[in-house]
């Protein structure tokens, strides 16, 4: 379980997260919605230990991400996919995916490469396995990014606006992969602006506004007229997103 308790984070005078409480249980798909600057990405960055907390605590399977020794264990259990892919430019797709399994999980290199190729095949990229990131399209790079995260066999997948840099066609390719992962029971926390997709695959929706968690509801309840939509801020947000 991912447990977020009373998390506060500020950058200078700007409070970005203001007392967030959230639990993500195994098998859940939790979408985090909110307008730009609401703290969604910062929450993901706090979960994977990239940002230090000003207050509060985040644990992943009881490993506290604020403690360096426990962060290593927490990171073995969670994997992150980034908005801008962040692939290693000097390595091929296969090498990008196989590096951490070899170095962190101590999987033999040949086995890690075979696993990486199998993952690439599962996302329709077996023919591009030996291509470098600069030789791949945005959608292909993001699929490699997802494979890189999955190669660590994480219990939790953290996804930070992973389709924001993609065109609609590439977005649908990537979302199809996420839908398959969700149906396979992969636990996911994803920050997204894809409202309809969040509605389709999420078990819960969390809405952040100005660093505060406004609602945390089961998906059907969130989108119900007398549920999350009853809150003016959420109705306004969803209405604007749908127009866009």
């Amino acid at each position: 379980m991912i447990s977020v308790r009373g998390v506060r984070k500020a950058f200078g005078a700007a409070t970005v997260l203001d007392g967030i409480d959230l639990d993500v249980h195994s098998g859940e798909v939790v979408s985090i919605l909110g307008s730009s600057g609401s703290g969604k990405s910062t929450l993901i960055r706090c979960m994977n230990g990239l940002e230090k907390l000003d207050a509060g605590c985040i644990t992943i399977d009881d490993f506290d991400v604020s403690r360096p020794k426990e962060l290593t264990e927490a990171r073995k259990r969670s994997a992150t996919v980034f908005q801008l892919f962040n692939l290693y430019p000097h390595m091929t797709a296969v090498q990008n995916i196989a590096l951490a399994p070899v170095e962190v999980l101590k999987i033999p290199p040949k086995q890690a490469e075979a696993d990486a190729r199998a993952l690439l095949e599962s996302v329709g990229l077996s023919a591009r396995a030996d291509a470098f990131p600069s030789q791949l399209s945005g959608g292909q790079r993001q699929r490699v990014g997802i494979c890189r995260a999955l190669a660590m066999k994480p219990r939790y997948l953290l996804l930070d606006e992973i389709t924001s840099a993609l065109d609609p066609e590439m977005t649908s390719d990537v979302l199809a992969i996420l839908a398959k992962l969700a149906s396979d029971g992969t636990t996911m926390v994803f920050v997204t602006h894809e409202i309809e997709f969040a509605r389709t695959i999420s078990s819960r929706v969390v809405f952040l506004d100005k660093g505060q968690l406004v609602v945390d509801l089961p998906t059907a309840e969130f989108f119900a007229a007398d549920g999350g939509m009853a809150k003016p801020r959420i109705a306004q947000f969803l209405s604007k997103m749908r127009k866009d």
Binding site: G49, T72, L84, P89, R128, Q135
Partner: protein, 222 residues
């Protein structure tokens, strides 16, 4: 005066010996300066303010002192405090230390140009800091730095001619001896010009090939 290269024929073995000495000193100094450069660049960009400061002092010190002064200090100064090194070892060490200062600056630029997102991706995947440095930071920094590093290395080769001032009969030192023996400085130094130009041209070609290899992903669709 006639331009007669045949007068150099008896001296070719001696000049070749000098050329080999130059090549040996340069190869060792290139490796030494690259190693020092990588370590110092790592220290400069490290989170430790003390280590970073020490590294900056080294770079500032050795970039701002004439190489010949450094060389004389190592060769003539250190024996005064009981440290004796032969001319070859002194030359290689002095070139490595001086070259390391310039090399570190180039590699530092390469490290600082790495997208922080790439480093964060490596960090969250659980890679240790030494592994990130070895597998991610250094390869990316080197591939962006390889051309400016080539200029540093060529400068190092040219600077190696100063080693003749500490009794090392490398290529320039050998040429000086032959010139004084034959009283034909025009021919001998003309040959020296061509020899150094050829040597640095070969290094340029090697650097170009290395640059193309390290950046092979930019050359087209795989």
């Amino acid at each position: 005066m006639t331009f007669d290269l045949t007068i150099l024929a008896p001296h070719i073995p001696f000049l070749l010996k000098g050329a080999v000495l130059t090549a040996e000193a340069c190869v060792l100094a290139l490796v030494g300066s690259l190693c020092i450069g990588m370590i110092v660049a790592a220290l400069v960009t490290s989170a430790s303010p003390i280590l970073s400061r020490i590294a900056y002092i080294y770079v500032d010190l050795f970039r701002n002192i004439p190489f010949i002064v450094q060389l004389f200090f190592f060769f003539y100064g250190l024996p005064e405090i009981g440290i004796y090194l032969d001319a070859f070892a002194t030359g290689v060490i002095a070139l490595s230390i001086a070259g390391g200062a310039f090399t570190s600056d180039v590699i530092r630029s390469g490290i600082l140009s790495i997208d922080t997102g790439i480093l964060e991706a490596a960090e969250v995947s659980g890679l240790s800091k030494p592994t990130i440095f070895r597998k991610i930071v250094m390869p990316i920094a080197l591939r962006t730095s390889v051309r400016p590093l080539g200029s540093v290395f060529i400068n190092l080769i040219l600077t190696s001619s100063i080693l003749s001032t500490i009794t090392l009969n490398e290529l320039t030192g050998s040429a000086k001896i032959v010139a004084s023996d034959t009283f034909r400085p025009f021919e001998i130094y003309a040959v020296l010009l061509v020899a150094y130009a050829s040597l640095t041209y070969l290094v340029s070609l090697a650097i170009g090939a290395l640059h193309r290899y390290l950046n092979r992903d930019q050359s087209g669709v795989a």
